[in-house]
Subunit: 369 residues, 2 copies
């Protein structure tokens, strides 16, 4: 395979192993895996899940739901606060037989939906169990009761359960913190299940975030898990102790275009439009936009110590390495980088090249065709 | 115009005015404007320049050069350290008659290019005049002399001059600092021009960065300016004092999808995959991913004070506003945001919607078609 410009490599075997492990986890914890497809946004990666028996998926926009519906997915959750302005697209999906689940994250949504839906959709109430991003605040009993009542009475809304994304786990310092966070959220969710029961409504509990779904062993009472990032993982997950370096399934291959003896650094073709600007901050306060690996026959090496991207502009990346590594690299070499945040890198790169040289598509790369 | 999901609005009249002002600047300073097209990457925006008489343009990748060549541009600089791995694409461009200028930013490039080029290309030597990103370090006289000699002797390289991107200007605290930085770089460049002359080579000087090209009045000795961002400007340029708020020509329209009384905040559909993760840090250390404007007939309002995006995840944006503004916004409203870094936002959005409702393309949105 000849790489001449930034290319996102996908190790399909690693991705498949990540799926297998998450399926095992679901089995062991008696929960059902409803994978989030926002990370990969790819029909071919979707097929990896389909062949393992997955039928229900989650996406983060109506556009993404439309894309996967075209690939034959019939059971789709749009895991984003429902946007009533997109009712035409939603009606188009249910009109072709998609079993759609929407998130209600705002008190006003059932009223806004009156008369807009042509077919029934299932509803998960999104709960903000402390993360503070979106959802009904978990202890606002009045709002939750009112919502349940309105959904119950709505001709086109079928109540399904409660959903929480405990996103704080991405900022945990230790894995014990991930467990503690999940335990708190689970208790909240079980209380809500009880509250719904008292109104004659049966509720399932769905929780989704890769750190929790990967690390937490005790999932009693949680019916469904909906992680997304685990298909590729990335350096954020690795630093958090959620995945091993070897489980990271994507690497961005970039040509070295300049070598500076004066600055003891390299310029690579690989910038903010390829990696995204997400970064980690190391112990000495320096930014880290990606760690280097050596591309090898059939994959890539382990992370090369002291070889990382310290700055990105639109197309340029600055690679700083140890003195030892400096002498081994030359202009014209192509090196790999494990991404900080694989969801954003995949979204920018818009396609994957497998280690076998096949090009797999990404929604954004095909959306205007 | 009905907006239902994140949509990048382009005020063409403002963009045209930005072009006119930069053309005036070039005229006044007796320099030639070679606009950088990396910010907009759009054939229709390109036409705004063409109709003002622009013939020579700059881009930041071979892919972008190929795109604009297809739109009939014949004089193109690839303003990125030349990547010899992409020689086939470069030969394809010169093969169809494109007058190509490449950047040589590394000592090894002329040797690497031996036998690879099928047609002649023009060469600008990229000079690192203190910014530390890419280019030959300005005081490495030996390297510069050797490079000039090798280019002179190379059958397919035509020496054109020196190029510098004084990117430090983006981090200037005051506009006087921008002037001082440019003055230093200009002196360096004039010295190099002299050095080339002693070798019998005539050299032009090209400098490109929006802060400098906008603010600096004295450009004596600088033959060409090559800014890019000025076509749209953005909040970084506005905070730096380089553009007025009114000159920012793009705004990202986003639906409000949730309103939280508890957190006194809104969730918008607009996240890292729309804005990019670039942000400013305000006086109190809080991140700012964009400032809110109200969409109006024929454009948008001035910036609403105390209304900004404080956090972004993949598709979600968190909008915090003053108490006064809080009561005026509801779920289902569509509001606008001036971007922090318009180049990255445009690259993510992949198309523009003009205020007249036309959709203008962006290379990335069409590259796989």
């Amino acid at each position: 395979m000849k790489i001449t410009r930034p290319t996102l490599l996908l190790d399909v075997a690693k991705a498949e192993l990540n799926v297998d492990k998450m399926l095992d986890k679901a089995k062991k914890t008696q929960s059902r895996l409803v994978p989030h497809f926002k990370t990969h946004q790819s029909k071919q990666v979707g097929e990896l899940f389909r062949k393992k028996g997955i039928e229900a998926i989650s996406v983060s926009s109506v556009k993404m739901a439309t894309y996967f519906a075209k690939q034959g997915w019939k059971d789709i959750t749009i895991a984003f606060p429902f946007n009533s302005l997109e009712r035409d697209e939603v009606n188009a999906l249910t009109g072709v037989g998609v079993d759609l689940t929407i998130l209600i994250s705002d008190r006003s949504t059932p009223a806004l939906l009156k008369g807009l839906l042509e077919d029934s959709v299932s509803v998960l109430i999104e709960i903000d169990a402390g993360y503070g991003r979106s959802g009904i605040v978990h202890d606002d009993n009045e709002a939750i009761t009112d919502l349940l009542q309105e959904i119950k009475e709505h001709s086109h809304l079928q109540f399904k359960g409660f959903y929480a994304h405990p996103g704080d786990t991405y900022h945990a310092d230790e894995t014990s913190e991930i467990n503690a966070l999940w335990s708190d959220v689970r208790n909240v969710m079980l209380g809500l299940k009880q509250q719904a029961k008292q109104m004659g409504l049966s509720a399932l509990i769905r929780m989704g975030d890769t750190p929790g779904c990967t690390m937490v062993e005790d999932m009693k009472g949680i019916d469904e898990i909906s992680p997304g990032n685990f298909i590729f993982y990335d350096l954020v997950m690795n630093y958090l102790g959620v995945c091993s370096e070897d489980e990271i399934a994507v690497a961005l291959a970039c040509p070295i275009v300049a070598k500076s003896e004066a600055h003891r650094q390299f310029v690579i073709h690989g910038g903010a439009v390829h990696f995204s600007k997400d970064h980690l901050i190391d112990g000495s306060g320096e930014k880290n936009f990606g760690e280097m690996v050596i591309l090898e026959e059939g994959g890539w090496s382990t992370i090369i110590p002291e070889a990382r991207l310290t700055a990105l502009s639109q197309e340029h990346g600055i690679l700083k390495v140890s003195d030892e590594v400096f002498d081994t690299l030359e202009v014209g070499d192509v090196v790999g980088f494990l991404p900080i945040h694989s969801c954003l890198t995949a979204n920018l790169m818009k396609s994957y090249t497998t280690l076998q040289g096949e090009v797999w598509e990404h929604l954004e790369g095909t959306s205007t065709c």
